[in-house]
Symmetry: C2
Subunit: 386 residues, 2 copies
Amino acid sequence: MSTLASLGGDLSRLRHLNSLAVIRALRGAEPLTLTAVAEQTGLSRPSTKDVVDQLVALGWVVEVPPSAGGLGRPARRYRFRADGGHVAGVDIGVHTVRAAVADLDGNVLAETRQTVSRDTPVDDRLAATFRAVAGCLAAAGLGQDDLWSVSAGTTGVVDREGRVQISAGIRDWAGVDLTARLGELFSCTVHVENDARLAALAERERGAAQGVNDAVFLHAGRRTGAALIIGGAVHRGFGGAAGEVGLLPVTHWATAADYLHDCPVVPADVPKGDAARHTFDAAREGHPVAVAAVERYADDLALGTSAMVMTLDPELVVLGGGFSRAADVLLPLLRTRLEEVCLRMPELRGSALGEECVALGAVGRAVAHLDQEFFGTGPGSIAPPR
Amino acid sequence: MSTLASLGGDLSRLRHLNSLAVIRALRGAEPLTLTAVAEQTGLSRPSTKDVVDQLVALGWVVEVPPSAGGLGRPARRYRFRADGGHVAGVDIGVHTVRAAVADLDGNVLAETRQTVSRDTPVDDRLAATFRAVAGCLAAAGLGQDDLWSVSAGTTGVVDREGRVQISAGIRDWAGVDLTARLGELFSCTVHVENDARLAALAERERGAAQGVNDAVFLHAGRRTGAALIIGGAVHRGFGGAAGEVGLLPVTHWATAADYLHDCPVVPADVPKGDAARHTFDAAREGHPVAVAAVERYADDLALGTSAMVMTLDPELVVLGGGFSRAADVLLPLLRTRLEEVCLRMPELRGSALGEECVALGAVGRAVAHLDQEFFGTGPGSIAPPR
DNA sequence: GGATTTTACGAAGGAGCCCTCTGTAAAGAT
DNA sequence: ATCTTTACAGAGGGCTCCTTCGTAAAATCC
């Protein structure tokens, strides 16, 4: 039984667990002294030294110069080598492909974008994805070999193996085995996920949903979608379709954004990407036609949201996506409509992240995969970095 | 940091983890030989003996006579002392209070019921609860002191602390601090949960949802409700209202069962508890009025269900509650309606358990609480049973 | 019925990991 | 220059696990 063997074991198992505890103490924090690590892990100082020395020998931890100014003998300081490896997060959208490269702590080093269109052929879209990542690597002074893991997010229903099952926005996208196709482009492991779910992950890790265990994330933009955070983790659903209430005809999510795009207040020469902004601006100034359009949009958004809220009773609903810049207009409307039907009204917040949130979530997912691989709680010992 | 300290630690920590592994190997299984335990845990035979001896000394494990008939020297056999302690699970319903008493492995030793009504005063209902448990204890030859934990399920929204927030069915039930009130009656720890969630837990542990990680449980009976299993665990929601889509007016769940109760095919002198059965029977024989009633009921049930299914994309939907005896009639109707709207149709099954499922789930919850207390993975050592 | 085979028990010896304790080293404070 | 504070480094010891070996108790074979 793997579940039994992963519990106890050898004496080396204890060292393994203590090594993980030390790494967790060192991750993402300022460089720590041995005493500080010992306090956090509960280990004795000599044992801490032993473990840290071993991690230094493996290459996961490096010593940094001691900090001056303190009382007593200066303590040696150590930090996790987050720059020992890197990950890429990609957002393969309808009109834009965004990429971000980060270190093992998720610190973003570079971001780039490539412009595409809904009719860009599959091969070209994949090539643009590769260029976006390559641009990040160049900007960060890294090579392909420094990349240990790549995560990608895209619109549509993505199954467990990373195949696009359904895609509302991108031409010829359904049926593409993204994990395989991207795997040909990159020499490291590749994972693929629905974009809204990665955006939700980003909000949970570094956005509006930090520390929240149960949240609904709304992607309100030219497309309308949703994702769920349950028990602190992103929920996929059995077929990867969790949160896709927008595909139910009764929610009208497929056409909800048209109220904003096709509003008469939008000048005729405005490109579709900017249309909604005009409507929101006009609504802010009280233009009745624009206000009505925004209200009808909020009606549609609230209907699908209420189904998720009633199902899950979340702590928080995050309004994300491009329209989250109009949260000042949308949130009050959404709140009113939800309060009418909700048993217990969840908190309602606008997104704290910008347009890169899917790429950021992809970075987080890639880091999580590496964490599992190198620092998982399972049996085995800690391997040296490549 | 508790999360760090719970990872590694002392040498005693290793022994603790290995003890847990041994206990898990012994739990719920036939008595095992030392060699068998060693194989399952991955420990060496001498270490296994050491750990088992220690557990025997503590009182958690007992030796049983060796089995005859094998080749070679007969091996000593050991088993977990599931009968060292006991739990009670209670279902405090509108018309009936059911109780079950089980050992630490969840094996039910006795079941009883008490009849109440929707207007039974709170104190009397609590007294009936106590009588139901006392009856179980007597039937199993146990005393109050043998009870280590009690879990109760009841209708309505129950908050994290075990207070009834909203109750549709039971008079004066809202506002009752059930954990505190039951705590006065029993000398052990008491936990309270929504009844549908406990029924779902029972289906997951020993019913139709075994091994399923994401499922929706429908309670279809005189009351209509639902509960969710997400990631293998029952989902509460932030305010304990997860799955209460039935409280949304648009679902019509509050009145859905009336189609069945008030159907003209039901003879006038039939008590309300049996009315639905007549309607289902008539529908089976093709009586048009009854068929129409069942179809309207299925319509309402499907609407709320579709919201949950679209939100969660579960692997399975379980039809439980009193009407699950009419699963042969209801499931096809429900399937047709869900297939119309569902992106990916989940599997659909009738409940595998009877009317005791809430009490069974409560037993499971009580056992889980004790497991956490005695055999949790957290720091500390294994304490002797009381 | 005795020898053989099979399986399990029990004790001894050894290695790894962590702890406590003690003395030494390096900085600022007096 | 000395004292105080903080950290480093090593020694010694205890606990837990592993491997190895000889012994014990059953069924099987001749």
